[in-house]
């Protein structure tokens, strides 16, 4: 099935939950990544129970500090 991750289409062989998907996508420090699916932020408590399905648009939003020092 086709889904979009940060704007790019990728093929997923089977439906996975967000926690599994973060590992599969080799996301650094997955515990601090905000996940948005189809423009809706998914609470971290729902990472295990939310299954990514065909046509979903997934965005990873990362913490970024920087600036002053």
């Amino acid at each position: 099935m086709l889904i979009k991750v940060n704007g790019k289409e990728i093929e997923l062989s089977k439906g996975v939950n967000i926690s599994e998907f973060l590992i599969e996508q080799k996301v650094e420090m997955p515990e601090y990544v905000t996940v948005q699916i189809n423009e809706e932020i998914i609470p971290k408590e729902q990472f295990e129970t939310t299954i990514i399905s065909t046509g979903d648009s997934v965005e990873f939003l990362y913490f970024m500090g920087g600036g002053s020092i």
Binding site: G7, Y32, F63, M64, G65, G66, G67, S68
Partner: protein, 271 residues
């Protein structure tokens, strides 16, 4: 308020724009923008706002200029090393544009002073140019609670991000990131490095948002998260929605006041 001949010449490229005009330039001269952090992001933001003729610019920072700042914090010069950043910034702006009144706050923001600083000149717009998450959450919460529009930004390595908050018009920073990461969990520029121009690109976008807000033109980055990857030379504008469970801007906020989160050990004052 009428223009002097010098002002007509100085701002001629603005005045000729139909979106600015004489009316818009007057708005800019009468506007007040607060910049928190006079570093990688705040330096270019302050310089472009000063050049644009923003009449009052507030600079907040307790830090002093170090040699390692000069690779990106272009408001400070080699001779400024050791000087307080707000003073060095004020001097550069004064030399660049005498129309600008620079108000300096030689302090770190905290729950005890941030509202007073924002209210001091009744600033129209706030720019977050800080480098740490405790300050970023504090600025967000203070702006949400006092209904001030502000621009968030972060930069690291070859990457940057920015979003704009407008009261009651889209999500705030806390909608996206519910609480700060634990101290030292996410790398800082000091540890991870940052390409000098990153603050120039992102800080200038923050200045653009402030100018557009004052002029009331165009579309702002409220409801969007803009990311920039300099290695791929790629900008992405991600649409956001408000978080109905947000601790500060939702209908049932859980936050009752401002929070001073713990700073990472390596960034503690005097360390």
């Amino acid at each position: 308020m009428s223009f002097t001949n010098e002002q007509l010449e100085r701002y001629s490229r603005h005045i000729i724009l139909k979106e600015v005009g004489a009316k818009g330039q007057k708005k800019l001269l009468e506007s007040k923008v607060l910049i928190i952090g006079t570093g990688g992001l705040g330096a270019p933001a302050a310089m472009f706002l000063a050049a644009a003729g923003v009449g009052t610019i507030g600079l907040v920072d307790f830090d002093v200029v170090e040699l390692s700042n000069l690779q990106r914090q272009i408001i400070h010069l080699t001779k400024d090393t050791g000087k307080h950043k707000v003073l060095s910034g004020k001097e550069t702006i004064n030399e660049m544009n005498p129309d600008v009144n620079v108000v300096t706050y030689k302090e770190w923001v905290s729950s005890s002073n941030i509202i007073d600083i924002i209210k001091d000149q009744d600033y129209d717009f706030v720019i977050d140019g800080t480098d740490n998450f405790p300050a970023k959450f504090l600025i967000n919460d203070a702006c949400v609670l006092s209904k001030k529009p502000f621009s968030h930004a972060g930069i690291i390595r070859f990457q940057g991000q920015t979003m704009t908050y407008l009261p009651d018009k889209g999500p705030c920073y806390r909608c996206i990131f519910q609480s700060p990461p634990p101290p030292d969990a996410v790398p800082t520029c000091k540890k991870a490095g940052v390409l000098g121009v990153m603050g120039g690109i992102i800080g200038t976008i923050q200045a653009t948002e402030a100018i557009k807000y004052v002029l009331g033109v165009g579309d702002l980055l409220n409801g969007y998260f803009l990311t920039y990857d300099a290695l791929k030379m790629e900008f992405r504008k991600v649409k956001l929605s408000s978080n109905k469970n947000c601790g500060v801007c939702s209908e049932n906020p859980t936050l009752t006041g401002l929070i001073d989160y713990e700073q990472p050990q390596c960034e503690l004052k005097g360390n």
